[in-house]
Symmetry: C2
Subunit: 514 residues, 2 copies
C-alpha cells in the first residue's frame, strides 16, 4: 500500500510544501475508539433466528423494488433473483451469500495518515451531523445554512479531539447551486481539514466528481488501490432502492470506495411499530443493498447501516432517544455482527428545537446506546438538532465534548497492579483521604475523563461569572475555537489542482437550484 | 402475611374512612421495572476474583473503623474479628459468610398494597432525590428548602407515574428544627402519598421514631412481621462506620426494616483514582457493613449500596455522569449479584447549576447506566441538581419523564407473532407506508414510550407557542400537577393518631438547629 503523505510531499515537491507543513499548528485528535468493553445485546438466539428467517422470507416472497434502474434489474436477474417489473424477489440465502464477499473491516485513508481510520471490528469512528438545511446559534437564531456555515463546521470538526472523521454534508450550503455544492463541500473537507471524509451521493455524476477529486488529493493510483471515502446511501424504506442512491453506490463500489447502506426508518411510518418487525425489515433491506454492492464489485467495502427512530403517534413527528430506537439499534448491531459487517447507527439525535435539556437527554440516550450497541461508524455524532433539520453550532461542541466520555467508557477496567491500587488503600487507611497519596499523584492526570466545556465550579464562582448555562458556555467555546483555527498544511500544488478542478467543473454547467 | 390495607380499614372503622377512600382520585403508578433485558457487565471472571480477593485482604490486613461504638466492637470480637482500639480486622471469609444470611430480595410494603415494591432480583424501584439543603425553580431561584417545598416534592412524587417510591429527605426542611424535622417529613410521606418511603437515619432515636410512626400507620404487629421502610445508611469512606449511622442501622435491623449500606465515594478523594481500586474498597466496606447488620439480626433486609462519583482533579469538585462512575457502577452491580444481594446505585446525578443541557447529559448518562447495571433500588432517580446541593422542581418532572423511557427499554424485544409483524410487512410492501395498516392500528397505543413533557411539535407551532425550552415546559407541568393534586385517602383515625404522635414528640424536647 502506498503512503499517501510521502507521495504527496514528493509530488508537489519544493520548499513551499515543506514550509507549509512545518509551520502548521497540529490539533490533537484521539485515535478512533477501540472498545475494551463488551457489546450490549438484547436479542436471544431464538429471536435472532426468527428475525433472520423472516428477513429471508421478506426478500423471497415480497421482494424489494429497484426503481428506474434497468441495469440493476439485469444484474439481479443474472444473479438468480426473480425480477418482475421493478420488483426483485431474492431466493432464500442468495442475498446473504452475496454479502459474504464484503470485508468485515476496512481502512479509510485520510490525507494525514495518522488520521486514517479502521472501520469495523471493535472500533468506533465518530463523524459529525449530516444533511441539515438550517443552522442555528445562540445569537443568530435559526436560518438557512450557507457555505460559510459549512466551512465553520468543518473547522470545528477538525479541531475537535474526539471526532475522528470530517463527515460529509455537515449542513446544506443552500447559497451554492445544487449541482455545484458537492464541489465546494468536498473542497472544504479536503483543504480545511486533514481528517477522512464522505463523498457526494445526490447524483451518480457527483459521486464520480468525488472520486475524481480524491484522485487529485491522494493521487489516482492511490485511490484505485485504497478506500478514501465512506459515503451514505439511504434506502427508501420500505424496501425501495432509488436510481439516484443506487447510481452513487454503483460509482463508489466500482471504485472500491465505501458505502453505508442504510435503511432510513421512522418506525410506524416506514416500518412496523414493533421492534422485531422493524429489525426484520432493516435486515432484509440491508442484505438486498449490500448484496447489490457486491454484484457491482465483489469485495467492495460497505457498512450495515440502520437509521431508525420512532414516531409520535399523535403528531406523526419523529422522536429521538427513545427506548424503542435503542432496542432496535442494539438488535441491529447483533444482526450486523452475525453477518460479519461493520455497523453504522446512533448519533446526537434529538427532536428538540433548542440545545436544551430535552436535546441533551435525547442525545445522551442515543450516544450511550450507540457505544454499547457496537456501532463502528457513528454519523451525526455531534451537532444534530430538531430532528435533523438544524445543525446547531453550540450543540456541535456540547456533543463533541460528550464524545470524550464515550472514549473513557470504552476503555473498560484495568485490573493490573496499578489498577488494583492496593498500595493506595494501604497507605491511606480508614478515615484518611487519597488526594495526596502516591498512587493518586502518579495517576490523576489520566485517571478521569476531562470535559473541555462543562461547569464544575463552586456555585458562587459560577454565579459571579454570569451564571451561564451550557449553551452560553458552548457559544464562547465555538467562538474561541474558530478564532484560533489554523489550516492544516497541504501541498500548494495539490490545493491549486483541486481549485482548478472545481473551477472547471463549475464552468462546465449552468447553475441549478432544484 | 397480614394485609395492611384491610386491617387499616377495619381499625379506623366507620363511615368517614370509607367515604374518604371512595372519593379519592387515583393517580396511576407504573409497576416497578421488571427487566426483560440483560445486565451490562464490564468485569471478566479474572477481574472479579482479583477484586474479591483484594477486598478480603483489605478487611483482614487493614480493617475498618467502628467509631465511638463499644457495643459494635464487642459484637465484632465475639464474631471472630480482631479488634484493636476502634479498628476491626475481619479474617478472610468471615464478612462474606455473615452476609449470607441477608435476603436476596425483600418486599417493602406501602400503605396502599398495590404500591408495595419487591427490591432485588431483576427489578428496579425508582425513588426521588435525597438530601439537598437547597431548592430551585425557574421563577424563585435557588434558596434554602422549607417544609412547604418538601410537601410539594412528596406530592409530585406521588403524582409521577414512573416513581415507585416516595423517597426520604427529598429536601432538607431547614425551617423545622433539626431534631424534629424527621417527624414532619415522615408525616408528609405517610399522609400526602401512599407510596413506600424511607426512615430517618440522623440519630438512632429518630430511627426509633420512624419505626414507631410506622407502627401507627401500618399497625404494630404488621411492622414487626414486615418491612415497611428502606433507609439510607452511608459509610464514611474510606472504611469508617460512624456511631450515628450505625446506631440507625442497629435500630432498623433489630426491627427487620431495610437499610441501604452505601459507601459514599468521590473517587480520588475517598477512594483510589482507579476503577478496580475503588471497587475493591466499595466491596470491602459493603461487606463489613452488611455483615454487621447480620450480627444485629440475621436475615435483616439490606441493600448493597454504591454512591460513587469521580472528581475534577483541578478544582476538587465532584463530577457526575462520567465514564469512570459508570464503569464502577457496572462493576459494583456484578459484585452485588455475586453476593446475592439487592443493589443500589445511580440516579439523576449532575454537577450543573441549572436544569440545562449539562444537567441532562450527566443525568441521562447516569440513568441509562443504572438501568443497564442491574440496579435494584435507584435513589435520586429524579430532581437532583448541583452535585446534590439542590432539589430542582423543573428537573424533578423532567427526570421523572425520562424514567418512563427506562421502563420502555427494560421491556426488551417481543418476538411473538404480533411482535414479528410479518402481516404488516406483507400488507404494506415496497414503497408503501405503515401508518394505516392493521398491525399499526392494533398496536400503536402501546408500541412507543410516550413523553408527558418533551416537545415534538413542528417548528412553527412551537415558535408560535412561545419557543419554550424544556425548563419552561417543565415549570408549567409542575404548576399543573400541584394544582390538580388530591390527597390519597387515609383512615382519619390513623391520620389523627399520627398527628398526635408528632405533636407529643415535638412537645417533649426543645428545638435544636444544629
Amino acid at each position: 500500500m502506498a503512503d499517501a503523505s510521502t507521495r504527496r510531499r514528493s509530488r508537489g515537491g519544493g520548499g513551499a510544501a515543506r514550509r507549509a507543513e512545518r509551520t502548521a499548528v497540529s490539533f490533537e485528535t484521539a485515535k478512533y475508539i477501540e472498545r475494551n468493553i463488551p457489546n450490549f445485546e438484547v436479542l436471544n438466539e431464538e429471536a435472532l433466528e426468527v428475525i433472520e428467517t423472516n428477513a429471508e422470507t421478506v426478500l423471497e416472497e415480497i421482494g424489494v423494488n429497484f426503481v428506474e434502474n434497468p441495469a440493476a434489474l439485469a444484474r439481479w436477474r443474472e444473479a438468480g433473483a426473480e425480477v418482475e417489473g421493478e420488483r426483485v424477489r431474492i431466493p432464500r440465502g442468495l442475498a446473504r451469500k452475496l454479502c459474504a464477499t464484503a470485508p468485515s473491516q476496512f481502512t479509510q485513508h485520510a490525507r494525514n495518515p495518522e488520521k486514517s481510520v479502521v472501520i469495523g471490528g471493535r472500533n468506533l469512528v465518530l463523524a459529525p451531523v449530516y444533511g441539515p438545511p438550517f443552522v442555528r446559534d445562540a445569537f443568530g437564531g435559526r436560518r438557512y445554512a450557507t457555505m460559510d456555515d459549512f466551512k465553520k463546521f468543518v473547522k470545528l470538526a477538525y479541531m475537535s479531539k474526539w471526532l475522528h472523521h470530517s463527515g460529509g454534508t455537515v449542513c446544506e450550503p443552500t447559497d451554492i447551486p445544487v449541482n455545484k455544492r458537492h464541489l465546494d463541500m468536498l473542497s472544504a473537507h479536503m483543504t480545511l481539514s486533514d481528517k477522512p471524509f464522505m463523498g457526494s451521493v445526490t447524483d451518480p455524476s457527483r459521486a464520480q466528481d468525488s472520486v475524481d477529486m480524491c484522485g487529485v488529493l491522494f493521487g489516482k493510483e492511490f485511490v484505485q488501490d485504497n478506500t478514501v471515502m465512506t459515503s451514505l446511501v439511504n434506502i427508501n424504506s420500505p424496501m425501495t432502492f432509488d436510481e439516484v442512491m443506487m447510481g452513487a453506490l454503483e460509482v463508489y463500489a466500482t471504485n472500491n470506495q465505501a458505502c453505508i447502506v442504510s435503511p432510513f426508518i421512522v418506525g410506524g411510518a416506514m416500518a412496523p411499530v414493533s421492534v422485531a418487525g422493524t429489525l426484520t425489515q432493516v435486515l432484509a433491506e440491508v442484505m438486498a443493498g449490500i448484496a447489490y454492492s457486491q454484484l457491482i464489485r465483489p469485495g467492495a467495502p460497505v457498512i450495515f447501516g440502520a437509521f431508525v427512530t420512532s414516531i409520535d403517534m399523535n403528531s406523526g413527528a419523529p422522536t429521538f432517544g427513545t427506548p424503542e430506537a435503542s432496542l432496535i439499534t442494539y438488535g441491529a448491531g447483533q444482526l450486523a455482527r452475525r453477518m460479519g459487517l461493520p455497523f453504522r447507527s446512533a448519533g446526537s439525535f434529538c427532536g428538540s428545537k433548542l440545545p436544551d435539556a430535552q436535546a441533551a437527554y435525547e442525545t445522551a440516550n442515543s450516544l450511550n446506546m450507540g457505544l454499547l450497541a457496537g456501532v463502528n461508524f457513528m454519523l451525526h455524532a455531534c451537532g444534530w438538532l430538531e430532528g435533523g433539520l438544524v445543525a446547531d453550532f453550540e450543540k456541535f461542541v456540547m456533543d463533541a465534548d460528550q464524545l470524550g466520555a464515550l472514549h473513557g467508557l470504552a476503555k473498560g477496567v484495568n485490573h493490573d497492579e496499578n489498577g488494583q491500587a492496593m498500595d493506595a488503600i494501604r497507605e491511606v487507611g480508614p478515615g484518611g483521604h487519597y488526594l495526596g497519596c502516591a498512587h493518586t499523584q502518579a495517576n490523576f492526570k489520566s485517571a478521569f475523563w476531562k470535559t473541555d466545556l462543562l461547569d464544575y465550579k463552586p456555585f458562587e464562582t459560577w454565579e459571579e461569572e454570569g451564571g451561564r448555562d451550557t449553551r452560553m458556555l458552548a457559544s464562547a467555546r465555538v467562538e474561541r475555537l474558530l478564532s484560533t483555527y489554523e489550516q492544516p498544511a497541504l501541498d500548494p500544488a495539490i490545493a491549486e489542482a483541486l481549485a482548478a478542478f472545481v473551477d472547471e467543473k463549475k464552468a462546465s454547467m449552468p447553475d441549478a437550484f432544484m
